[in-house]
């Protein structure tokens, strides 16, 4: 019985890993996506891509913790497979740019939007801004996380995943490192567990995108037998460097170089998290909801003790 249970868990993990590969391929590496970017000058690229950058940052900064309970000295080794997703609202589907004919402000589609806005200097000629290329209300991602501790109330966290280049689909990799520390040990009278920590991550997708994320936050949790309820507050940011060969043309605009390098900052945000963890030693199931300037959910399975 126990053997079958673990066999099924293993199959589920393999399915999740396969899916993460497919998702990375489908979401980030299609040529139409890169081709759409290459048509944009630096100002338009920022507006067009910023919601995508923010969604990625929100995803990557999710699922860091599932309890605030860290012992002062003991052995913790836990591998979590974390699925996360950020919801894309109407606000993320439009940005403001300039009309190429008269320089007035125009609102048009981001990468998540519908059709690009059409502007016209008269009734004869039409110019259409780039169409949205990823239609979704949800951006998913999966990442494995290894937690090791506990030493003086401190745990270390490592995240790493890499997908190879397949059929012109660029390789993608995520590396993250974090630390969490038990704060309850300094205030023993508090009836809940408290901890604080930070997480730094580096994401690279092909030659076009190179991002770093950072989060710092405080966590609280309370355990009831198998169930742990947890929550927290964190401040987070993402910065993505985008480099590409500009292939578009705009009347009156001559780029200093066709090689465009720009930095897109995601919307920095303060985020609140509430969630639960169920422990069926040594298997753990967890899920949480995250509310900030973007709304995200994460959930998954962990193995370890």
């Amino acid at each position: 019985m126990q053997k079958n249970f673990f066999k099924q868990q293993l199959l589920l993990i393999i399915s999740l890993l396969c899916m993460s590969l497919i998702i990375v391929i489908r979401t980030h590496a299609q040529n139409p996506f890169e081709d759409a970017v290459k048509q944009l000058n630096s100002d338009n690229a920022k507006g067009y891509l910023q919601p995508w950058v923010t969604a990625f940052g929100t995803n990557l900064n999710s699922g860091f913790y599932h309890s605030a309970d860290i012992s002062n000295l003991g052995l913790t080794v836990r591998l979590d497979i974390i699925g996360m997703g950020t919801f894309i609202g109407d606000k993320q589907k439009k940005y403001k740019t300039k009309n190429p004919f008269d320089g007035t402000d125009v609102e048009t589609a981001t990468i998540f939007g519908e059709m690009g806005t059409v502007v016209s200097p008269d009734s004869l000629v039409l110019y259409q801004f780039q169409n949205g290329q990823v239609k979704t209300s949800f951006i998913p991602f999966v990442v494995p996380q290894l937690t090791i501790g506990d030493l003086y109330g401190t745990q270390g966290v490592i995240r790493y995943v890499q997908t190879p280049e397949i059929n012109n689909v660029p390789e993608a990799s995520v590396f993250g490192i974090g630390v969490r520390h038990n704060v309850s040990r300094y205030i023993p009278a508090v009836p809940v567990d408290l901890s604080a920590g930070f997480l730094y991550q580096h994401l690279k997708i092909g030659e076009l995108f190179d991002a770093t994320t950072f989060m710092i936050g405080a966590q609280v949790s309370k355990s009831f037998a198998l169930l742990t309820l947890y929550g927290g507050l964190q401040y987070e940011s993402i910065s993505m460097d985008i480099g590409y060969e500009y292939k578009g043309s705009i009347p009156g605009y001559t780029p200093p170089s066709t090689k465009i390098t720009l930095n897109v900052e995601g919307e920095s945000q303060l985020r609140g998290t509430v969630g639960f963890n169920l422990s069926f030693f040594p298997v753990h199931l967890f899920a949480d909801i995250n509310i900030g300037s973007a709304i995200a959910a994460s959930g998954g399975i962990g193995f370890g003790f």
Binding site: I23, D35, N131, V134, F280, L285
Partner: protein, 179 residues
């Protein structure tokens, strides 16, 4: 509910959530065809006439991408003056035609207006207006890819000053492709 069933339900939920993910390339990809430019040298004495032409090829627009091309649209034509050694107040009058169709009329227009790239649709320049027949010709030529090249003719008369400049004419189009 047993823990086995619970975990299967929980992870089926996650899988469904992921599969509800992304739909890519629902709309055509819009490629800005790099501006097709030709430069004409203009030299004229005071009150003298000038006339020259250039041919802009448009047949390679369909080779811009490997994707299936849905349509090609003309959206702008611009004028830009460089290497200008004319008098600062130089003016000129004339017209620009495309394959014989009137595209632009100019009457006593200040040459200095074109020291930066100007659209034929610019409404801020006095004595400067486009003609519908020329615009319709360009729209149709790019839509049908016929003819494969377009002859642009510039002719006019200088004002009271000599004219010495290069006039660059640039054609802009958008290519709608289905990835």
């Amino acid at each position: 509910m047993g823990k086995k069933k619970f975990s299967i339900i929980a992870f089926s939920g996650i899988i469904i959530l992921f599969l509800s993910g992304c739909e890519l390339s629902k709309y055509p990809l819009i490629l800005d065809a790099s501006g097709k430019s030709k430069t004409i040298r203009i030299d004229a004495n005071p009150s003298g006439t000038f006339s020259d032409s250039a041919t802009v090829s448009i047949e390679d627009l369909k080779e811009l991408t490997d994707y299936d091309i849905d349509s090609i649209r003309f959206y702008n034509l611009t004028l830009h003056v460089t290497n200008d050694t004319s008098d600062a107040n130089a003016t000129f009058s004339g017209n620009i035609t495309v394959e014989g169709e009137q595209l632009l009329s100019l009457t006593n227009v200040q040459l200095s207006e074109f020291s930066k790239e100007r659209s034929i649709f610019d409404k801020t320049i006095a004595g400067y207006s486009y003609n519908r027949s020329g615009v319709l010709f360009l729209l149709n030529a790019l839509k049908t890819q016929s003819p494969s090249s377009i002859k642009v003719k510039v002719e006019g008369t200088a004002g009271n000053n000599e004219l010495h400049f290069d006039l660059t004419i640039t054609l802009y189009a958008q290519v709608f492709a289905n990835p």
